[in-house]
Amino acid sequence: MSLLTLDSVCKSFGSTRIINDVSLDIEAGEKHAIIGPNGAGKSTLFHLISGRYNVSSGAIGFKGEVIHNLPPYEIARRGLARSFQVTNIFPRMSVFENIRCALLWSEGYRYSFWQLLGRQRKLNEKALDVLEQIGLSDKAQLPSGELAYAQQRALELGIAVASGAELIMLDEPVAGMSNSEAENAVALIRRITEGKTLIMVEHDMNIVFDIADRISVLVYGEIIATDTPQNIRSNARVQEAYLGEVPSDA
C-alpha cells in the first residue's frame, strides 16, 4: 500500500483551476521530486497535501487514512511534516527553542502547562541531537531571526524533520543558496531523510537527478509524467513543456 495517495485531486480558486485532476502514489521510503515550470501549482499541491488548503474535489490519503480537508495540525500529528519555500521559523525564539517546539507533540507533551521544559532531559537531548545534525549546535541560544539565510534554511529543515515524521515534504529547500551552501544542504537532506519518505519541490535539475528515485512533472496543474529520472529526461512531453516545441531533428 502506498504511503501517500492523491486521487483525482482538483483545486480551484474562484473560477480559476489551479490543480487539475492530479493522481499520484508515493511509496514508503521513496524519494520523489516534483518539478515543473513556475506557476504550475507545485506549492499549491504541497498546501493541499499538508492541509493548508482544502481540496475542491478528489481525495488524499496518508497511511490508509483520509487526510484531505483536515486542519494542518491533524495532518502533522499523523507523521507528515513540511518545510516552506519562504522561511517560516519562530524568529523571536532561540534556535534551540525552535527545534524543541517542533519536538513537543511527537514527544507526547500536548498542551501541558504543568511540566517544566527545563527538566525534560530526554526532550532536551533530542533537541540538541537535531541541532547537531543540522549543524547549528553553536548557534543554539541565538534568536533564530538573527541567523544568516542559509542557516535559517537549515533550521527550517530541522523543524520539519525534528518530529520524526515519516513523510517529509520540502518546498525548494535550497532556493536562494550559493552553490557551496546548496551542496551542504543537499548532503544534510540526504542524511536526515535516510529511511524516510521524501517529496521535494525543486528547480535545480542536478539536485533532482541526484536525490530522486522518481520524478513527477507538474504543468498547469496537471501531472504530465511520473517516472524515473532517466525516463523523464527523455520524455518528449516534458521537453516540450520546458523548452516549447521539441526540435524535429532531436
Partner: protein
C-alpha cells in the same frame, strides 16, 4: 532554573523588607497598590507579550473576580461562608477563570484585530450589563464589603494596611512564580511560537486556537486573583474596575514596562502606580504628563523601560558600560532642565493668581519675566539635548563594538 534561585530569593526578601523602608501610610498604600497591579499587568502580558493577543477588555476578568470577591467578603461577614479572607484571591481567580473559559471559547477563534475588537465589544457589553444588573453589580454605587469580619488568620484580623500588604505580597510572590513557570511549560512555549508564527505552529502539530485558549484562560485566572486582592484592599468595587479605561491602564503598564520581557509589566506597573499616587499629590495636570510620557515612550522606547535596560546588555558584555556614563549625564542634564521648564510652563498656565514655587524662584502668571525665564530654560534645555546627541550616538556605537580580546569570536 537553579541559576534563578537567587533571583527569586531576592524577590522574596525585597517583598518582606520593603514595608520597613517605605513605612509611611502613603508608602504602604502604594506598595499595596503595586501588589495588585503587578499581578494584573503580568496576567495581561500572558496575552499580549507572550501570546501576541491584543485585548482591550482584560479588566473584565479583574472586575468580575473583584465583584465576586467583595460579595464573598460580605458572605463571610454574614457567616454564610466560613473561610479566611486570605483565600479570597482564589475566589477571584476562580471567577476570572470561569469567565475566561466562557468568553475564550468563542473569542479565541480569531486573532489580531478581530480578536482585539471582540474583546472591546465584550468589555463594553459587560460594563453595560453591570449597570443593568444592579443586584450583583450594585449599580453606579458599586459594592462594598468589610475584610475585618472574617475568621482571624493566626490572630490577624487585617485591620492594618501593613497586614494587608503581607497578604498581598504573598499572593504576588505565588502568582508571579506560577506565571513565570507557565512560560517554561509546553503550553507557555507554544504560546510564544503561536505569537511568532501561528501558521508554522499548526504545521508542527498544534492547534493555534487551543494554545491561545489556554493562555487566555490562564490570563483570566490571574487577573481574577488581582481582582480578589483589590477587593480585600479597597473593600469596594464599581463598574469602573471592569471598564475600558481599566483595561487601557493595564495595557499601558505592560507596554511601558516592555512587552517582550517577563519583568516588563512589573516595571511598568511600578512606574505607573508611582506616577499615579505621587504625581497626583503634586499637580492637577499629572494626567497630562502621563499622556505625554506615554506617547514619548511609545515613540522612543518601543521596547519599554525593561527593553531600555536590556539594550545595555551588549555594552555590558563588552565591558564598555562605563563609557556611557559621561555621555548620558551630558545629555540628561539639559533634558532635565527642559523637563523642569516644560512642567513649569504647564503649571504656570493653570496657576491663575497663585504663585508657582520653582527651584527657589517665585513665578507668577502675570509676570512676563516668569514666562521669559521658563521659555529661556526650555530653549536652553532643548538646545543642550540637540547638541549632545552626536556625542551620545558616537559613544553608543563605541560601547556596542566588541572589544579587542573578543574579536576572535566576532562573526
Amino acid at each position: 532554573m537553579k541559576k534563578q534561585l537567587p533571583v527569586w530569593l531576592g524577590f522574596a526578601l525585597a517583598l518582606v523588607f520593603l514595608p520597613s523602608i517605605f513605612d509611611s501610610v502613603l508608602g504602604i498604600s502604594i506598595l499595596n497598590q503595586m501588589t495588585i497591579w503587578i499581578i494584573f499587568a503580568l496576567s495581561y502580558n500572558m496575552l499580549l507579550g507572550q501570546g501576541g493577543m491584543l485585548s482591550f477588555g482584560h479588566a473584565v476578568y479583574f472586575g468580575l473576580g473583584g465583584f465576586m470577591s467583595v460579595h464573598a467578603l460580605n458572605l463571610i461577614a454574614d457567616e454564610v461562608l466560613v473561610f479566611s479572607i486570605t483565600l479570597i484571591p482564589l475566589v477571584g481567580g476562580a471567577v476570572g477563570l470561569v469567565a475566561a473559559i466562557f468568553i475564550g471559547s468563542f473569542s479565541t477563534r480569531k486573532s489580531g484585530t478581530v480578536f482585539a475588537m471582540i474583546s472591546l465589544g465584550i468589555g463594553e457589553l459587560i460594563v453595560a450589563s453591570s449597570l443593568i444588573f444592579a443586584d450583583f453589580f450594585g449599580g453606579e454605587a458599586g459594592v462594598t464589603g468589610d475584610r475585618t469580619y472574617g475568621p482571624p488568620f493566626f490572630g490577624i484580623e487585617f485591620l492594618q494596611d501593613a497586614e494587608v500588604y503581607y497578604l498581598g505580597a504573598f499572593w504576588l510572590f505565588i502568582a508571579t512564580l506560577f506565571m513565570y513557570l507557565f512560560t517554561q511549560t509546553p503550553a507557555g512555549r507554544m504560546a510564544n511560537a503561536v505569537r511568532d508564527n501561528p501558521e508554522r505552529a499548526e504545521f508542527i502539530g498544534y492547534s493555534t486556537r487551543r494554545v491561545r485558549f489556554i493562555s487566555f484562560c490562564a490570563a483570566g485566572l490571574f487577573a481574577g486573583i488581582a481582582g480578589g486582592l483589590f477587593a480585600i484592599n479597597y473593600e469596594f468595587i464599581t463598574e469602573e474596575n471592569l471598564n475600558a479605561l481599566t483595561s487601557g491602564r493595564v495595557l499601558l503598564m505592560a507596554y511601558i514596562g516592555g512587552l517582550g520581557f517577563f519583568i516588563g509589566p512589573i516595571v511598568g506597573a511600578v512606574i505607573l502606580t508611582l506616577m499615579n499616587s505621587l504625581l497626583s499629590n503634586y499637580s492637577e495636570m499629572w494626567m497630562l504628563y502621563l499622556g505625554i510620557m506615554f506617547l514619548l515612550t511609545v515613540i522612543f522606547l518601543p521596547r519599554g523601560f525593561a527593553g531600555f535596560i536590556m539594550m545595555h546588555q551588549i555594552p555590558w558584555q563588552n565591558r564598555r558600560l562605563g563609557t556611557l556614563i559621561l555621555p548620558y549625564s551630558v545629555t540628561t542634564v539639559p533634558a532635565l532642565v527642559f523637563l523642569a521648564a516644560f512642567v513649569g510652563l504647564v503649571e504656570l498656565s493653570h496657576k491663575g493668581d497663585d504663585i508657582l514655587p520653582f527651584f527657589g524662584l517665585s513665578l507668577g502668571a502675570e509676570s512676563m519675566l516668569s514666562w521669559g525665564i521658563l521659555l529661556a530654560l526650555a530653549g536652553i534645555g532643548a538646545l543642550g539635548v540637540k547638541l549632545s546627541r552626536p556625542r551620545l550616538a558616537a559613544a553608543w556605537a563605541f560601547a556596542n563594538t566588541p572589544t579587542a580580546d573578543d574579536r576572535g569570536d566576532v562573526r
